[in-house]
Amino acid sequence: MRRPGIVATFAISSAAILFVLGIAVTAYSLMQIRSVLYDEAQRRVEAQALNWIEANTPQIVLANADVLSRLIADFAARERLAYALLEDPAGRVLAQTTVPADLRSESSDIVATTARSRVYGMMAADGVHYLEVATPVSASGTGMSRDLSSMFSIVSGGQSLATLRVGIDTRELEGRLRALVWTNAPLYSGLVLLAVVIQVVLMRRLVRPIAAIGRAARSVAAGDLSTAVAPGATLENEVGELVRNFNDMVARLEENRTDMQALHAGLEHKVWERTAQLEALNAKLVEADRLKSEFLSTVSHEFRTPLTSIKAFAEILLDAPPEDRQQRQRFLGIIDSESDRLTRLLSDLLDLAKIESGFLEWRFAEIDVREPVQQAVAAMMASARAKDISLELSAPVSCQVRVDGDRIQQVVNNLLSNALKFCPEGGRVSVSVECFEPRGRTCTADGSYARVSVSDTGSGIPQADLPRIFDRFFRGSNVARGVKGTGLGLAISREIVLRHGGEIWAESEPGRGSVFRFTVPLAAVKDNAATANVSEEWGHHE
């Protein structure tokens, strides 16, 4: 059986308490009332007795039994007494009404004593209790005033002539008491009930919010953070405060949860982002790894190719040399030039490796960019003349730059040797140096640069190859047979230019030759602006 709720428990205990209290109060009250009733009865009877005595003292003195009997009977009847008897000091009955059989006192104790009488509790044979008031008849009862009476009694010795004993049936009193109880009990019960009902109503008003909190707590625990307790929210007492605090708490939990969700979403997004980053990075690494493998494969091929010729011809010369001396010399020549090729390859590869890994020692200085260009052109003059190619340089303006002069010369050298290689006999290779300080639009990071261009009248480069020509070992799809380049020259040139903060690119139309250009930023010199070439020519940028 489910345990009763707060309200029921309270109602039951409240009713029990009130009931017990009621009984106690009632019992006490009844005691008091009985006492009063008895008291009142005593006094009334005593007063009546005294009156009778006063009125009839002469008769008593005369001791006329018949008269006295009649008088006493009237008295008893009139006053509705249970019995009355008059007895002399010796105990002999002078007159009496019908006295219950076997009347004797309940105890030797006097129940009460008034001014003139003594009250005894009496019991008869049939078990009925009587309250007896025994009033002495004294000589002083002659109608005189009390004071005089007492004076008289003192004078006469105050002797008692007789005692009037009057009995009241206590059943009457008890009956009156019972009637009282029976009339009050329903009233009292009704009041108790009313009190309990009022309390229950009040209790329910208090308990309702608490029960609501209980239900709300369960639903919050189940995850619903939108619950709010309505009953009792406006109460001004502790319960109201509990309800409001509960609602606040739930609201704060909801806020927390929203924050947590936002945080979680934020974190998830971060994780997603980071994962995407890592995946991209991983893809790059995988690609880099692949490129490395490819590179190693290509390098291996590049080394083995000249070695193949060297080994083949060396072994031929050892085992079965041709009889023709010229042919022998030719073979030796091939061994020699292939060895040179290997050396160049090694050297270029090392250069590239050094530049890329940052191990190369750069020697930057502020110079006129025309110097290394002029030196490279001078060095190539002989080869150009040998192929009947005209080599021209146009560099009217001085351009101060901060560069490693040797490396820039290496770049120009590389571009020139390529140009001469791919230019047919009788063709033309032109080199130009220009200084740019464009107003407004920016070409390089700091907006001003020197540009070197090498153009040839060769067969040009196909559009498809243009983006790849600076890749390592790229030789192009229509490269001339047996061209002994290492395939690394442009790659090295690009690295050098990039390290200077410049750009390098090529422009070409198949059949109309090509132009290779590279830029280096101008040194920040204050007074150079005036002499700069302010042409707004824009080159193609990759």
């Binding site: 091929h301 193949t308 083949a312 085992d319």
Partner: protein
Amino acid sequence: MSRKRVLICDDEPAICESVSFIVDQEGYEAVTAEDGDEGLRLIRTSAPDLVLLDVMMPGMTGFELCREIKSHEATRDIYVILLTAAGQERDRTDGYASGADEYMTKPFSPRMLRQRLHELLDGSP
């Protein structure tokens, strides 16, 4: 009896020259081509008995040329040796996948080549 014919196809002229010298020294006829297209044309026109193919050539690679040779009735019986400078395992398997009969890495030894030529073309070392 006509001489056995050997075709060498490589984009490096020096290698073509060294191999054709060896082939000639051993008494066979040497035919050279410097790219895959020319090689294919010469195979069809001169019907060599043995072909030495460089793998890394611009245009048609040695693998592709080999597959071409082996997929045609007329040329299927030609003995194909692939020459390669990249010595990776994958190239070897690719080589055999394309139907080559043999695989040689560069640099090769002329002595070894001479011996192999005799084994394959004369039927005896």
